[in-house]
């Protein structure tokens, strides 16, 4: 009879393991995210806070770690620097949002326009007109200021990216922007990507170069 009780005890022990196994994060991922798709070793990129930059002739390639949901990352085009000073930053990035220091999103007087149907290399002089600053959100489907980067979602195609719901993929549009900075200089700018080599999102890549102001 005692052995039967022992069997019962064993049964009770077996029955109550109380879900104890624990998965642990391995954290083995070395961040290989700063490799540009064009190639180029990591040491060609100059670290700059949340940014990394690489010079290629007159063109500056920039990568932004915009992964934070809480904070924007601020960039000064004129100084090619990570700078949050309200008088100096030109563009700021958070996830897929790109905002400029002008209109309702800043006091730096930055304005921009978008050129469709031209290549980055073809643009050498800034257009004389057509610039706009961010304006309050219109009565559209989204809830943020309208600008050349965000657009009005009632008119599909205005944001700097194209979003494919199937697979949730974000692809930059092949557009060239012209941005007039806080210092009044003009830059042509194009977006190259949203993902790093490891496929991590919110790693915005763009290139820019200074162009002539119109006569």
């Amino acid at each position: 009879m005692k052995s039967r009780l022992e069997i019962l005890g064993l049964f009770a022990v077996l029955a109550l393991p109380a879900c104890a196994a624990q998965l642990e994060p391995t954290d083995d991922g070395d961040d290989a995210g700063w490799l540009h798709p064009d190639g180029g070793a990591i040491d060609e990129w100059i670290p700059m806070g949340h940014f990394r930059v690489k010079y290629q002739g007159d063109v500056v390639h920039v990568r932004v770690n915009a992964t934070s949901y809480e904070s924007f990352r601020y960039f000064d085009l004129d100084a090619v620097a990570n700078d949050e000073d309200p008088a100096r930053w030109d563009l700021r990035f958070q996830r897929m949002a790109v905002e400029m220091n002008g209109g309702v999103t800043g006091e730096g007087g930055v304005v921009a326009l978008v050129l469709d149907g031209v290549s980055f290399d073809e643009v050498s002089v800034a257009p004389a007109s057509g610039y706009s600053a961010p304006v309050p959100d219109s009565d559209d489907r989204d809830q943020y200021a309208d600008s050349v980067f965000t657009g009005d979602h009632d008119e599909p195609g205005n944001a700097w990216y194209e979003y494919t719901v199937d697979g949730h993929v974000l692809t930059p549009r092949p557009w060239v922007y012209v941005v007039k900075s806080t210092e009044g200089r003009a830059y042509k700018l194009a977006f190259d990507g949203y993902y790093d080599e490891a496929g991590s999102p919110a790693n915005v890549q763009f290139r820019f170069a200074e162009i002539d102001l119109p006569d």
Binding site: L14, A18, P25, G29, D166, A198, G199, P201
Partner: protein
């Protein structure tokens, strides 16, 4: 006299015929029993069938005023424990009801087939004696048996009856159920080389099993997995991931049988029982001592080891313990891809059950623990490669009390507590940005109390109450999800019309559920069964069903870090609702052939759909849920079971399903229009060989993938032929060797990911001592 003819037809069909005389003067009955015995003696090459043996029965007392002795034949169903679970007098005599009550009190030693106790149907004659009979050459006492004249005759050609519980929430003979209940028996599980419930259902009729990275999910009659209720021993389970319960969680080592009821069943079961109910019944310990073990090894490092031991601890106390281990390598549908289609799986289970019987009461306690680790690789369209590890654990404890006094009342009450935990680890290759560890924990406690009150042989009432408490803690929910639900239900089962040429039974049922989160639901159902004869049966039913919104749909806050979209729950969601009809028949034109066909239609309204909300600059696309969609599925099922020759049986099933997605104005994705299933079992008794073949053929699937440019396309992949074969060679009762192949044709495509062709072999052993469970007289 015509009535007697009817009875004998019934006997010929599936009864193990018997006539038992309790009173001394029933020499005629004894003679008839003897005749049956001779006529139906087991053939030498058939399975070893030991008939049920009558152990005790109350003495029939003739009422005062009875002028002549009366003998009433009662057909009884004897369960595998020797109890009479159903009694039907084959007479309209005034004493028929009394004869039924006496028959229900009878106790047998159960029939066995190859040593396994099985439920059987037999006939006994209850004789109300007016004058004392002569004593010579008659059985003595009341209901005692005479060894020289076996009271029960059996036939190797007859199948034991199938007891099912899911159709009415009480044990009943499957062939008498008002709704059709399909059964996958223990024998089919063992002989099919099946390792878990998902594999058992893969080639079953009227259902479909789909593989996702989360496991194996069940579709019934073309409806998504969230519209089917999965139960273990009648209890609801937590742990729906993406709406589906992973059926591969349930290892074969703990399954006695699987019952499937297709069609709306919310009137008995409440939420989610829209497409149907799958009830996994666990194994009961019933041997004095039995130990069994089985090991299997196959290609792709498929390895299984299962063991079970059961025994009698005390005169009326039985214990069963089981454990299992299963392993399988991952596979890729596209060999060049880094992403896996099927995960590596490592599964372990331990479980036990203790049964104790005291007179008409039975107490059972059961506990089980499951560990399931799935490891796979995901590749996103933008190049992220992520190692995914999913660890599921489930602990379940249940206590059940059954009281069974057939003539007066039956009671089942059960308390089940289940804890389900799922941890998911995402480990990005070459980066850490997408690494994630989530820990979900769900608790579910459910009490079920059901009482069945028979008013007479032809009428009974079932009443039930089912309170439930469920909680979910998840990093995806901003707060803990909590819900309390109370379900009460009633079902009446009565013969309302019985002309000489048939019998009409109506089974109306109604269930009310009050839920702390979405309010109340009323689910009515009306089922009808018309027996034209004992070989032609019509069934029809109409039922309403519902599905409660899940915690995720109500409370979710999920951010997809890969791209940056967010899914928000909608606390204002209402329950999804459905109504469905079923109509069909079964006929048995010959002894060895049964044929059935059913038409069905399900209409779903207020279906919860994912809708997009205005995008947000930070979170990007926002999705939420709303009760917007509607859909229907409609079709027909047909099935044939035929015993070609002795030892060779074939079952064929065909299902046609047409579906409509009201939101998108197109067919529902991935539902095969035609599904043909076949299972063949052959046995060569002398060579101790058993071979089985199971197959499912799927045709007419449609998918609507979206291209990179956002264009919706339509794809109709080719037919799928899923074929499993297995041969088993036995060496007496103690040893068996087996070999098999799964997915012989190596079928599967990007849309329906099947295990690649897998060869395996193994050995099984079993040791039994002493007898089976018996009720003391």
């Amino acid at each position: 006299m015509s009535r007697v003819v009817h009875i004998s037809a019934l006997r010929r069909r599936l009864v193990l015929p018997a006539l038992v005389a309790f009173a001394a003067s029933s020499a005629v009955a004894i003679a008839r029993a003897q005749e049956d015995t001779d006529e139906l003696a087991p053939a030498s090459d058939g399975p070893v069938i030991v008939p049920p043996r009558l152990e005790s029965v109350p003495e029939p007392e003739a009422p005062e005023g009875l002028e002549a002795s009366v003998e009433i034949v009662v057909t009884v169903v004897v369960d595998e424990e020797g109890r009479v679970v159903e009694a039907t007098p084959e007479s309209d005599h005034l004493l028929a009801e009394r004869a039924r009550e006496i028959a229900l009190e009878a106790r047998f030693s159960p029939a066995t087939v190859d040593g396994e106790p099985v439920p059987t149907r037999v006939q006994i004659a209850v004789r109300f004696e007016v004058a004392p009979p002569p004593v010579e050459d008659a059985p003595t006492g009341h209901g005692e048996t005479n060894d020289a004249r076996p009271p029960v005759a059996t036939s190797p050609r007859e199948e034991p009856i199938e007891v099912v519980v899911t159709g009415a929430r009480f044990d009943q003979d499957a062939s008498r159920s008002a709704v059709r209940v399909e059964v996958i028996s223990r024998r089919e599980l063992e002989e099919g080389g099946i390792r878990n419930a998902a594999e058992a259902l893969e080639e079953a009729h009227g259902v479909q099993v789909n593989r996702t990275f989360r496991g194996m999910e069940l579709w019934i009659r073309g409806l998504d997995p969230e519209y089917s209720l999965i139960l273990v021993d009648g209890a609801t389970l937590p742990g729906r991931v993406g709406g589906a319960i992973d059926l591969s969680r349930f290892g074969v080592e703990e399954i006695e049988r699987i019952e499937i009821v297709r069609g709306p069943s919310s009137a008995l079961y409440g939420s989610e029982a829209i497409g149907g109910v799958v009830n996994i019944l666990t194994r009961e310990p019933r041997h004095d001592f039995r130990a069994s073990a089985q090991g299997t090894y196959g290609s792709r490092n498929t390895a299984d080891a299962v063991a079970r031991v059961e025994g009698r601890l005390h005169e009326k106390v039985f214990l069963g313990l089981n454990g299992g281990f299963h392993h399988e390598d991952p596979f890729r549908q596209e060999p060049a891809s880094v992403a896996t289609s099927g995960s590596r799986r490592v599964q372990g289970t331990v479980g036990g059950r203790l049964d104790a019987r005291f007179g008409d009461h039975r107490l059972s306690a059961r506990a089980s623990y499951l560990y399931l680790r799935l490891e796979g690789v995901e590749a996103s369209t933008v190049g992220a490669v992520i190692d995914r590890t999913q660890l599921q654990e489930q602990g379940q404890i249940s206590v059940e009390h059954r009281f069974d006094k057939r003539a007066r009342a039956q009671l089942v009450q059960r308390l089940t507590y289940t804890q389900y935990r799922e941890q998911t680890l995402l480990d990005q290759r070459g980066a850490t940005q997408l690494d994630q560890l989530e820990d979900h924990r769900e608790h579910l406690a459910q009490y079920t109390g059901i009482v069945r009150i028979p008013f007479s042989e032809a009428h009974d009432l079932t009443l039930g109450v089912e309170p439930m408490v469920q909680t979910l803690e998840s990093p995806r929910l901003p707060e803990q999800g909590e819900r309390i639900r109370l379900g009460v239900f009633a079902q009446y089962d009565g013969t309302v019309w019985e002309p000489t040429w048939g019998r009409l039974r109506l089974v109306p049922a109604l269930r009310a559920d009050v839920d702390s989160q979405f309010g109340s639901q009323i689910s009515p159902k009306l089922a009808a069964r018309f027996d034209v004869s004992d070989t032609v049966v019509f069934r029809a039913s109409y039922g309403r069903g519902f599905r409660a919104p899940s915690f995720q749909q109500l409370l979710l806050r999920f951010e997809n870090p890969t791209v940056g979209y967010i899914v928000l729950g909608n606390p204002d969601l209402d329950a999804e609702r459905s109504h469905g009809v079923d109509a069909g028949f079964t006929i048995e034109p010959f002894d060895r052939l049964t044929f059935g066909a059913t038409f069905f239609r399900n209409d779903l309204q207020h279906m919860i759909a994912v809708v997009s909300a205005p995008p947000d600059p930070i979170y990007g696309q926002i999705f939420t849920y709303d009760n917007l969609e509607s859909a229907w599925t409609m079709g027909a099922e047909a099935d044939v079971a035929v015993r070609v020759i002795e030892g060779l049986g074939l079952k064929l099933g065909y299902m046609f399903v047409e579906t409509w997605d009201g939101e998108n104005d197109r067919r529902l994705e991935g539902r095969p229009r035609h599904r043909l299933t076949a299972s063949l079992r052959g046995e060569i008794e002398k060579a101790e060989l058993v071979f089985t073949a199971r197959a499912a053929f799927l045709m007419g699937r449609t998918y609507y993938p979206t291209t990179a440019s956002g264009e919706v396309t339509r794809v109709n992949p080719g037919a799928i032929a899923q074929i499993d074969l297995r041969v088993e060679k036995r060496f007496g009762e103690k040893l068996a060797l087996f070999f098999g192949v799964e997915n012989l044709a190596d079928a599967g495509d990007a849309y329906l990911m099947l295990r690649p062709r897998t060869f395996y072999g193994g050995v099984g052993t079993q040791l039994t001592k002493g007898g089976d469970r018996e009720e003391s007289p």
